[in-house]
Symmetry: C2
């Protein structure tokens, strides 16, 4: 039985969230980290008891997770799907699709404002590293990419991002918690990649942006190591530790 007092998801992020969203975030972390195994069956009543809330917010959270394809709602119980290697590859496909589309729009825009915002976020990320705050770093990283996507003012691309975001956030949180302990030097490379991204936006250099993206991606596929947002499944479980504040 899982002690419901040990939460994987950083509580500071859900100050204004409802019980349902809170439960969804926590379940998501447990599913993606493997704390809850694929194939498990979740019962509304049991979850309600575990989280000490009623079935209403539990139902809400299950709907959210089903929309993210992390569970499958069936007649009797919700079946945990989880993230396979294939799923992670798919998320990568979608991100590549979104970000290349977004970049095509960005190069037709005035990017001064955007560049400033991104630089600010990058500074925040550096501070987070300085104070060894993996969670803060991860959340800023997500914000970095969200800021880029938001900049083109495209409601539907934003919708796709909003679908992807929670899972992405989980992946990054778990990844960064792991790496801040074991592979700390990676952070400087992550920062460098973000700097290149900003440069690509400022110079509206399509090739530079693609190069930056593909560098990350090749990293994942060829070496099995990860950069930025991408991490392989077997590493995730190791990142499932208490948040550090």
């Amino acid at each position: 039985m899982i002690d419901s007092k040990e939460f994987l998801y950083p509580e500071k992020s859900l100050s204004k969230a409802s019980a349902g969203e809170r439960v969804a975030c926590e379940l998501r972390m447990r599913i993606i980290s493997g704390t809850i195994e694929s194939g498990s069956i979740l019962s509304e009543n049991k979850l309600a008891a575990d989280f000490a809330v009623s079935r209403s917010p539990i139902r809400e959270s299950l709907k959210i997770l089903a929309a993210e394809n992390l569970i499958r709602l069936e007649r009797m119980g919700a079946i945990v799907i989880g993230l396979t290697e294939k799923e992670i590859q798919e998320i990568y496909d979608v991100r590549l699709l979104i970000e290349t589309f977004v970049f095509e729009r960005i190069i037709k825009m005035d990017t001064v404002q955007l560049s400033r915002e991104l630089s600010k976020i990058l500074e925040m990320m550096k501070v987070a590293i300085k104070y060894r705050d993996a969670d803060e770093f991860a959340l800023q990283d997500v914000l970095f990419h969200e800021t880029i996507i938001r900049s083109i003012n495209h409601a539907h691309m934003l919708m796709i991002w909003n679908n992807l975001k929670p899972v992405m956030e989980c992946l990054i949180l778990l990844s960064m918690r792991l790496r801040i302990k074991e592979e700390f030097e990676d952070f400087t490379r992550v920062i460098r990649n973000h700097e290149i991204y900003i440069e690509a936006i400022e110079s509206k250099n399509r090739d530079l942006m693609l190069e930056s993206l593909h560098l990350n991606f090749d990293d994942v596929q060829v070496q099995g190591t990860v950069d930025d947002l991408w991490i392989s499944q077997q590493m995730l479980a190791k990142g499932a530790v208490q948040k550090n504040d």
Copy 2:
């Protein structure tokens, strides 16, 4: 006050649906057709009274519509956003993105099975025309495109499609109802375009597929007329009539 006995959404499609999904489908039709105006504020209690159900399914439906960006859930009431011209253009962007991605995968596959399925659906569409069943035609049209997307077995592309699908379905339903009365000859062109699509898949001819897509798209933008899935906002209201069975 809207007479809740007059439903825009074809009831046959929601035989197994819950009350919440039913309400969501109906509200979606009313919002997209303009029966419910943009800017309106929807109250859970009022909707519950109108649809003669409790607030539980109403809440479910509002969550669904909010995920589709048709309404915005705020502290006091849900604000109707609806579909602007810009939104419809955005949906078009997303579809172009998805379908080109999917096609790249398809040309690396064995397409015999897929081609057979699509041909079957096309036959069904022809029958629907023969019997002047706009709703059936529209639903088969949606199925046609869903079948293509499903064929590549990509869970995340399917997720994006699942987000898009309900709105698309509404647009097509409204469009087809209108055209089966006023622009009947359009249907032969729609059928022809689908045939070209199948040919492109069979011959794995990227250019033919792109040509087919772009023909439709240019149609929308240049002439203001629509083909296949695409229709301009001002026409939608006219499609908001009773289903015809």
